[in-house]
Amino acid sequence: MKKELLRMENIVKTFPGVRALNNAAITVHAGEVMGFMGENGAGKSTLMNVLGGVFPADSGEIYIEGQKAEIRSIHDSQSLGVAFIHQELALEPYLTIAENIFLGREMKNSLGMISKDKMAEAARPFLERVGLEVDPNEFVGRLSLGQQQMVEIAKSFSLHAKILILDEPTSSLSEKEVNILFETVEELKKQGMGIIFITHKMAEVFRLCDAVTIMRDGEYMDTLQSENCTESQLISLMVGRDLGNYYVRTFNRPGDVVLEAKHIHAGKRAVDCSFSVRSGEILGFYGLVGSGRSELMKAIMGLDPMDSGEILLNGETVRKASPMYMQERGVALVPESRKTEGLLLKNTIGFNITLPILPRFISRLRVDTDKEQQIIEEGMEALRIKAPSGRVNCSTLSGGNQQKVLLAKWLATNPSVLILDEPTRGIDVGAKAEIYTIINDLAKRGLAVILISSEMPEVMNMSDRMMIMNEGHITGELDHTEYSQELILKYAMGVANHE
């Protein structure tokens, strides 16, 4: 048996309103690549953030090389030999490779000034170890993403890392870069490092990982040796959960097609996507984070540029989509991020709800305050927003209530097509149930609803039909009678085609 490098046990972490980790665990040995899998929100990143010292766990034990360890800060984690390479690289583009590697620990010459030569010399062996044949005095901004990743890994050597966490390292790499990365990882493995490899891609697990740890809903499920396990075994471990019964869905007979998108291309984020949605229907959009669902919708709304494709509204071609144009024709997009895209948090509930519909009560220099008040009150009542009045600032509301304000804002425009992007992200169970009821009622009233969600049970229980996306492509379409978690996840991971 190889030497144990890391053991995390019984890790519990609660955020306001959510228990993100409950009994999470992972063990890594020297010279082992441990795959780490789970659905979106299963708690992989949270557990790694605990290990990386981003925030401490509420309770649980961490052992590093058999010794009980206390990790309270990023610094603690680094000095214990843990290196966390985030998905979003954190290098300084205007500094050289060597300067990045020794950032905060700069080497000085005899005059007490920073010595570029010394640092470049010291950086060389680390760069050799990752097989990066670039001048250490090159600026990081000039490197490809794959090369930047190598610099990050080289930096972790200089910090004497024994445990390396790679968070979806291949998500933005080209095929060639992926091969180089895998060779490097193999090399590190031989040198006795323990590597945690977070990924959504099955192929990578079987190609690179010795074993796989699977999490689901914040809990440790199992660790399997990749030699003797199958894809479907992994998938069923990832999804096999009880579906809550707080979903409300009454199926209606859908009406006419309201919105149709044909062959939409928008950069790499949406490639040849076609779909249509009928009134009274809820069309689910499932995919893993970054699969291009939000980007597709933004392109349709005219918020992001669209390269080519056709959008039809009630059978008529939309010549040039812009947020104003689509809104006037009854298409509303409730965006994913309440904070940055959705609400003006500094302003009141009333200000937010009425922002898209000001012409209804402001004409020339007259504000019809009674009408305004009426609209605000109706919106708050319809969505059961819990606040003393419409004059309350949105920043003081809970996530669930903010989400309801956001919904109220877009429902006030009387849309015929409502696109909901992650409408229940980060809100508690009670508020979720309320939002499901509201969505169901809207469909019953004849709205065409598009529901984008990364929570599979949510899409499965709420939608009539489901489109599944992977890396910008629509990889599958299922009717609700055909839903199965295994099938959906296969489409979402882009493996269904290979079988």
Binding site: T340, L343, N347, F351, L355, I362, L365, V367, S395
Partner: protein, 325 residues
């Protein structure tokens, strides 16, 4: 009945709640100067004070709007110099009627403001850089046109535009009042006003809400330019000359008035009510210190300190708000 008085009283209560800090400062300053300064509470002095406030207020109205958009406009003083010069030249050198001169002056302001807005929204260069550069362009053009020296006029009617009065109230103060009322209506009673707050508060969210961000930005800097243009014309009328060197540091006073009045550099907030207090306080500083025979260069020092203090107070407020989340 109760309902009705409530409706009337609410704005007053809100106003006091929002502005009690600077209101208290304003009252304290008035008390201080009326005790220690001679002739503070005379009619002549009050009229003088308001006249000083007026020129600053024209610029401050525009600058505040730019700050609400989370931007800034530094063009004001130099643009006023340019429009003053052009205005006087229009009727002195080209022999056109005075009213044409006034309109041309304001129009130059509109054009420069529009250019500011267009450059800011279409290139994405930070407003600070764009308007600082435009300041230099305006100042240089003013000197070039005027050949380095003031363009004077003997025209009485034009002088009256800046020095006349309506009853006891000087005309510049009348203009100021009209502009403040228009400003209030624009910001509080129109769609455009709400859009300005929305774009300043969160540009992305405003875009998602179907607001034409380009239009709003161009409009705001255009208004700011127009106000500076008007300011330049009034100044030229008061001095009976278009002076390329005038208006130096005016944008500092305007920024100071806006931030004192609670306009946040983070964007999205700021009220006309607050701005009025800010303008009065800045006016009081010059006026009161003059009455007390303090070396007038101290005013610059004091205004600088006030800007830093006011912005710091706003940051503390923001921090507390964020902590409450």
């Amino acid at each position: 009945m109760n309902e009705k008085s409530n409706k009337l009283m609410r704005p007053v209560r809100e106003y006091l709640k929002q502005n009690w800090g600077i209101l208290a400062a304003l009252v304290a300053m008035c008390l201080f100067f009326s005790i220690f300064g001679s002739n503070f509470l005379t009619r002549t002095n009050i009229v003088n004070l308001l006249r000083t406030c007026a020129t600053n207020c024209y610029l401050a109205i525009g600058v505040q709007m730019a700050i609400i958009l989370a931007g800034i406009d530094l063009t004001g003083g130099a643009l006023a110099a340019l429009t003053g010069v052009v205005c006087v030249m229009t009727f002195e050198n080209m022999g056109l009627p005075i009213w044409v001169g006034i309109i041309v002056g304001v129009l130059i302001g509109v054009i420069i403001g529009m250019a500011n807005g267009a450059i800011i929204t279409y290139t994405g260069i930070h407003p600070f850089v764009v308007t600082l550069a435009m300041q230099s362009i305006c100042r240089g053009t003013a000197y070039l046109l005027a050949n380095g020296s003031p363009v004077t006029t003997q025209n009485r009617a034009f002088g009256a535009f800046g020095t006349g009065s309506l009853g006891p109230i000087p005309l510049p103060v009348v203009y100021m009042t009209i502009f403040l009322i228009l400003d209030f209506f624009l910001l509080n009673k129109t769609r455009t006003g709400r859009h300005i707050y929305a774009v300043g508060g969160n540009e992305t969210s405003a875009r998602f809400s179907g607001i034409n961000i380009h239009k709003i930005k161009i409009l705001v800097w255009t208004i700011s330019g127009a106000m500076a243009g008007f300011c330049g014309v009034v100044l030229a009328a008061r001095l009976s000359s278009g002076q390329p060197s005038t208006g130096e540091g005016y944008e500092t006073d305007a920024i100071a008035a806006a931030v004192l009045g609670g306009t946040s550099f983070f964007g999205g907030t700021g009220s006309v009510g607050g701005l009025i207090i800010g303008v009065l306080i800045i006016g009081l500083i010059s006026n009161g210190l003059n009455l007390m025979h303090v070396n007038s260069y101290w005013q610059y020092v004091l205004k600088g300190i006030i800007i830093i203090a006011a912005v710091y107070v706003d940051m503390l407020k923001q921090k507390r708000q964020n902590a409450a989340k």
